[in-house]
């Protein structure tokens, strides 16, 4: 076991800012949706717009980071040991068995995480963000000060946006819970905060396999 610097500064900044923004967007978004009242509709809608642009900005940076650092390779899906991973969460974890896959700097994600995060990045976030952008641009004001309304129905835009939001919230619950399944219940969160995590040596791993 070795203390490894696994999450870079940007990665951690990106993760926590995205987390806060998504939670804040959920609070304001579901208020606009009419689910509860916290800020009042007017403020909620206003905050939601501001936070949504911040999130879009952050995502642009994150995409850039993924490609320039090559971190996108972490998300290449694999079926290798996928079944083992699922079985571990369903059975093994209760028996105190060891994790079926080991975490290294080059393989931060287990096969199940790869699949779920790929779904998150390629479907869930694009669905929610793009429907959100269409929602934002439903009515615009053109150069002649005339309000232009798009042809698509707001109702279906709202449907997809709400669907995305609900799935994100479900993701959030499971995601937060899964952080407790590391070596110790706080080791994963700790790593995302400090950047360091106790991992098996990569050299060791190579030797093993």
């Amino acid at each position: 076991m070795n203390k490894v610097y696994i999450y870079s500064g940007f990665e951690r900044f990106w993760h926590w800012t995205q987390a806060s923004l998504i939670i804040f967007l959920a609070l304001t978004g579901f208020e606009v949706h009419g689910s509860f009242e916290i800020f009042g509709f007017e403020k909620a809608a206003q905050f939601h717009r501001i936070a949504s642009w911040m999130l879009i900005g952050l995502i642009v940076f994150a995409i850039f980071w993924h490609f320039t650092t090559g971190e996108w390779r972490q998300y290449i899906p694999t079926t290798n040991k996928l079944k083992d991973q699922v079985l571990y969460y369903l059975v093994g974890i209760f028996r105190g068995e060891p994790h079926p896959t080991s975490k290294t700097k080059l393989r931060k994600l287990n096969p199940l995480q790869r699949l779920v995060y790929l779904f998150f990045k390629l479907l869930l976030i694009p669905l929610t963000v793009s429907s959100g952008i269409l929602y934002l641009l439903y009515k615009t004001i053109d150069q002649n000060n005339i309000v232009v309304i798009e042809n698509y129905p707001l109702e279906s835009i709202a449907f997809w946006h709400t669907l995305g939001a609900i799935l994100l919230m479900i993701f959030l619950v499971i995601h937060v819970y899964m952080t407790t399944t590391g070596e110790t219940p706080t080791s994963n969160i700790n790593a995302m905060l400090t950047g360091y995590e106790d991992l098996d040596d990569e050299e060791e791993n190579k030797n093993k396999s």
Binding site: H33, E42, I141, T162, I170
Partner: protein, 538 residues
Amino acid sequence: MLKNIFIVVILVIVSLVLVNVLHKEETYNLKLELLKQEYAFKPIPSVNHYKLPELQKDFKTPQEVTEACLSCHTETHKEVMASSHWNWERLSYVKGEGVSLTGKKNVLNNFCIGSNSNEKACAKCHIGFGMDSNKYDFENARNVDCMVCHDNSEDYMKGASMAGYPDRLVNLKSVAQSVGRPQKGNCGSCHFFSGGGNNVKHGDLEAALLSCSRDVDVHMASNGMNMECVDCHTAENHQILGKLYSVSTSNTNRANCEDCHTNTPHFSNVLNRHGSKVSCQACHIPEYAKVNSTKMAWYWSDAGKLKDGQPFHEEDSLGNHDYLSIKGSFKWERNVKPDYVWFNGTARQYKLGDKITTIPVQINTLFGSHNEKDSKIVPVKIHIGDQIYDKEHMILIQPHLYAEEKGDSAYWKDFDWNKSAAAGMHNAGLPYSGNYGFIKTKMYWPVNHMVAPKEQALSCVECHTRENGRLANLTGFYVPGRDTNKMLDKWGFWLYILTIVGVFGHGAIRVGLKVYNDKYSKQIIEYHGQDLSDDLDG
């Protein structure tokens, strides 16, 4: 650790809140200030009519005044006589029905019903003299009443039931010498009192506007801009801008807020974008009839009760008539929240002789729907009631109501619906079967005045709310905060709950098993320990 998460979360939220708090909303609104400046200066007339030699005489008849006016304004009568104020009708177009002449001559309402055969009383609000029947000569320029609109002395008034002639007490000379630009009182003398009393019909036009606070009307407030009606309802060649859809049909010649305030009057573009589907009035007139009550319902079927053979009246706590033997019973309301409808600027009216196709009878219909490009949500006063109709011909009846003496078949003197209906319909040249009844009616009055100060404009939640919002009755389109996909919400909610239960279940089993296993392994250790000690002892 958790502290760090909280700090990051709180920092983000605080920065978002700060953005909002530090953003000052009270920026100087240059557009509005320019308008205020423009209308702060009241026009000064270039002619003082008091000094004109033509007006230095004792006029015996009001027609002599008109002749004096026309001696200088030689062609003006032509303009006036081309207006609907004079003709009581104008060329109208209704989609699917074509072009026709529509106006007070041939439409009905659910207040005093109609002018036919009652001209002598109704003509109090005609800009002419001597209209006492439907055979009026609309070509006689001498009968144009210049004074009713242009008197600035506030002494002019039309006589009650005098066919549009001025009251006998009016000093025609002083009125003629003090003419000028129409003031609120000129327009108000008819438009405030239509339907037989102050604020009866409109609800947003009443005598209180002559001297009101900004809370009642920001434009006309005497402690505010103190604007005149004609500041917005401008006129070119006596054709006045603006119309009301109790008598109008087409989307032309309208006075719009946007004419002065532009399409994008707000700093917030979210609000500006609302303007494509929501009229200015919808948010900026939260209530109408803010000072005096307005009639919301009128039931003619209750008319005709007599006490000792004499007509009587009853009043409600605010002093409004709620029963009149000659007219029936009424409902009055004050500080009324408007109803809201989709409206594209076109309408149709029930015209004398039209077959009844719906119950309640739509006295006027405002066209529009959420999926039409030109339609907007507008506030309306809906006036309901019942009134007399011919059960066999299925048409609304124009009753003969007003007469000076008994024995002229007029309902207000004789209290005989049958005779009144026969006389009225005969006068209008329409059939009457002798079989009458009372039928429910509905009439829509767009609310355009009593614009409140911006602080009192509707807040978002008045409409963007799940239940009982102002737009609760308008369906078929998606309002964020009001509408949801019920299935998605239901499934989403239960899936979310299920996830939380699942996660806690999974966690509980993990913790439970861990505690059990820990205990178990401890026991083994203890057991082994005991074993060992036994061995040692042995």
